[in-house]
């Protein structure tokens, strides 16, 4: 577990860089329980630093169907924030709004200190936001290495003529991309497959490739849409660890949509629960687990006249 557990809902995980500085903890190990004074510093840091992501009153509808209804969300730096809810609750839609693929009917998205009515998708990489997709968005015609290198495309400045002619500048950029990609590939244990065509690999590996591609630029905000869907238990454990490492080693803030409640409870610092487009709960895993509205809508308790909902 990564965070200090107290009743105060505003506590940040200790791996927030600012807090780390103040408390003098090494970057690699963020799991030190601070003494009382340090807790105060962390709380102050939480109030001073703007949230990495803030959603205000996001509403979205398609034709007559309401996908999101006045949803608000704050994600603090270094958090692992889960969004859960039944199918059709609007979770993916929310992520799509954050990545600018959908334009909300009203509301704002705040990324760091920038506020948007409609997030410009093509500038996400520049804002150090990265995401994965529910239905796997790999480039099947590229090798694993090439796929991960694509995660750094926003840094490439040399034009196509330079690339064709092989100027030193172009070569340097290529080498740098390659090195960073190899590092991310190593981080996710994909090195053996790196020259293989991404489209030919098994599903579990493909999911890891997508994560590597999202991580390679060391994003500040990482949006993961059902990263563990369709995986075996072992694969889930491995990937959960990778996600945790991403936050711990790369310092990313993570927003995670996931259906596996066990994983969610274990991995996240705070959870938001959506149902039919509205947020019905928001808090720590313990708080959410005990929330009646959440249980009724999603987690499910066997009533006399209903069948048990198993997740």
């Amino acid at each position: 577990m990564s965070s200090v557990a107290t009743a105060d809902a505003e506590i940040l995980p200790l791996t927030s860089a600012l807090a780390r500085e103040r408390v003098g903890v090494g970057a690699a190990d963020g799991r030190v329980v601070p003494a009382g004074a340090a807790q105060e510093l962390v709380r102050d840091a939480a109030r001073v630093a703007p949230p990495v992501l803030a959603l205000e009153d996001i509403s979205l509808s398609f034709g007559g169907v309401v996908a999101l209804r006045d949803v608000g969300l704050r994600v603090a730096e270094g958090e692992i924030r889960a969004i859960i809810g039944p199918n059709g609750a609007g979770k993916s839609s929310l992520l799509n709004v954050v990545s600018g693929l959908y334009r909300p009917d009203h509301g704002h998205v705040q990324l760091g200190d920038r506020r948007f009515a409609h997030v410009p998708t093509s500038r996400l990489a520049g804002y150090r936001v990265a995401r994965t997709f529910q239905n796997l968005a790999l480039f099947k015609g590229l090798s694993v290495l090439d796929n991960v290198m694509m995660g750094l495309v926003h840094r490439r400045r040399a034009g196509f003529l330079q690339q064709v002619l092989g100027t030193p500048w172009a070569r340097r950029e290529e080498a740098a991309s390659r090195a960073a990609a190899e590092e991310a590939i190593g981080f996710l244990h994909l090195t053996e497959a790196k020259e293989r065509l991404a489209g030919t690999l098994p599903y579990g590996l493909q999911k890891r490739i997508e994560l590597a591609r999202a991580l390679v630029a060391h994003p500040k905000l990482l949006l993961l849409d059902e990263p563990l869907a369709g995986m075996t238990l072992t694969e889930k454990q491995e990937l959960s660890q990778h996600i945790r490492n991403a936050r711990d080693s790369y310092g990313a803030t993570i927003v995670l949509i996931e259906h596996d409640i066990g994983v969610v409870m274990d991995l996240s610092d705070r959870i938001a629960v959506l149902d039919h487009g509205s947020k019905i709960a928001d808090g720590t895993p313990d708080q959410v687990r005990a929330d009646q509205a959440v249980i009724d809508a999603y987690l499910g308790v066997a009533h006399d006249d209903e069948t048990e909902l198993a997740i």
């Binding site: 968005a137 480039f139 015609g141 290198m149 495309v153 020259e195």
Partner: protein, 355 residues
């Protein structure tokens, strides 16, 4: 099998099988064929093959690698041919190679203009809009006499190829010119496809939304694909007019020609440079084989009408068959067969022990 073209290796090991193959190819291409090849083979088979192969490489960049379907490629053949003709005619001081390059650039610009819709359109809608290029260019070249120096019905007679004062008149010389241009152009294209730009093409093709999210510049990437593709096809058009037919008219750049180039890349293999050459070879050689076969089997019954129609049926059937059985084209078939053959070579059968 890694389909993405790898970045050029900086390995110290110089003599890879690939390079030896290329060297052999060059020796044959330059050292043997121009001298041993008959006039007929050079004129009617190799030169058109080279022009079509280059056009196919161009279309492959756009459709195979970048995933933008184009049905109007013949328009750019025409633009290249007519542009080179006009540059050559109106600026006789310009060396021909410069006219060639300028013609390619003109084709690229036209390609960019007709490629702009690709920003809003996808799939069928884009394909339909590329047809606009096809019809418009054909019409403009026929309607406005200026393009053909006021020759009747837009026909142009390309003058003799002259590079640096040396005439490239005979079949052998025109072939050498063609293969040189094609080799250089293909080499540069391979470099482009192996670079980040090439990766961007494939990304846009495979998952445009993800590409947008990770920061691939969609507008620039698509326009680059259209521009490079049209440039290559334009240069192929110059070869078509100056090295092969030497007399061309707008009707020769019709929809059938566009489909022919599209069929070449489907048959040869989408997103495969080698496939483009294989497909072009097939398209050029196949009618000749078919007519020989038909004449042998059916004798007099097999006139040119029957030949043309049988050709249509076989090509159409082949397209369907390939799309069903081997969508990666003939080149995938060839690769599979040669891999099996190589495997056999490396492990020679041992003679059974005689007791």
């Amino acid at each position: 099998m890694n389909k993405s073209v790898p970045a050029l290796s900086t390995k110290a090991n110089w003599l890879t099988p690939g390079r030896v193959g290329v060297a052999v190819l060059l020796v044959i291409a330059y050292g043997i064929i121009p001298f041993a090849g008959s006039e007929y083979v050079l004129d009617a088979i190799l030169t058109p093959f080279l022009a079509l192969a280059l056009a196919a490489v161009g279309l492959n960049v756009l459709t195979g690698y970048a995933g933008q379907v184009s049905l109007g490629s013949a328009a750019f053949l025409a633009v290249g041919a007519y542009a080179a003709y006009n540059f050559n005619l109106r600026f006789p001081e310009l060396p021909f190679l410069v006219s060639l390059l300028l013609a390619g650039l003109v084709a690229a610009v036209v390609g960019l203009v007709f490629g702009l819709p690709s920003l809003r359109l996808r799939g069928f809608y884009l394909a339909v809009s590329t047809l606009a290029a096809q019809f418009f260019v054909q019409w403009a070249l026929t309607k406005f006499g200026w393009f053909s120096n006021d020759n009747p019905s837009g026909v142009i007679d390309a003058p003799t190829l002259t590079i640096a004062g040396i005439p490239f008149a005979g079949a052998a010389r025109r072939y050498v010119f063609s293969i040189t241009i094609v080799l250089i152009a293909t080499f540069l294209t391979v470099r482009l496809l192996g670079s980040q730009s090439g990766r961007n093409f494939i990304a846009v093709r495979d998952h445009e939304i993800a590409a947008k999210v990770i920061g691939v510049p969609l507008l620039r990437t698509k326009l680059l694909a259209f521009g490079v593709s049209s440039f290559l096809i334009g240069v192929a058009g110059v070869l078509w007019a100056f090295a092969y037919l030497r007399t061309v008219e707008p009707a020769g750049f019709n929809l059938d020609r566009s489909f022919q180039i599209l069929f070449i890349i489907i048959i040869g293999g989408l997103a495969s440079i080698r496939g483009s050459f294989l497909g072009a070879a097939f398209i050029v050689v196949f009618p000749l084989l078919l007519s020989r076969l038909g004449a042998a089997l059916l004798g007099n019954l097999f006139d040119s009408g029957v030949l043309e129609m049988s050709q249509r049926i076989v090509i159409g059937g082949l397209i369907i068959g390939l799309l069903i059985a081997e969508p990666r084209g003939l080149i995938a078939l060839v690769d599979r067969l040669s891999a099996k053959a190589l495997l056999k070579l490396r492990r020679p059968e041992r003679a059974p022990i005689q007791l």
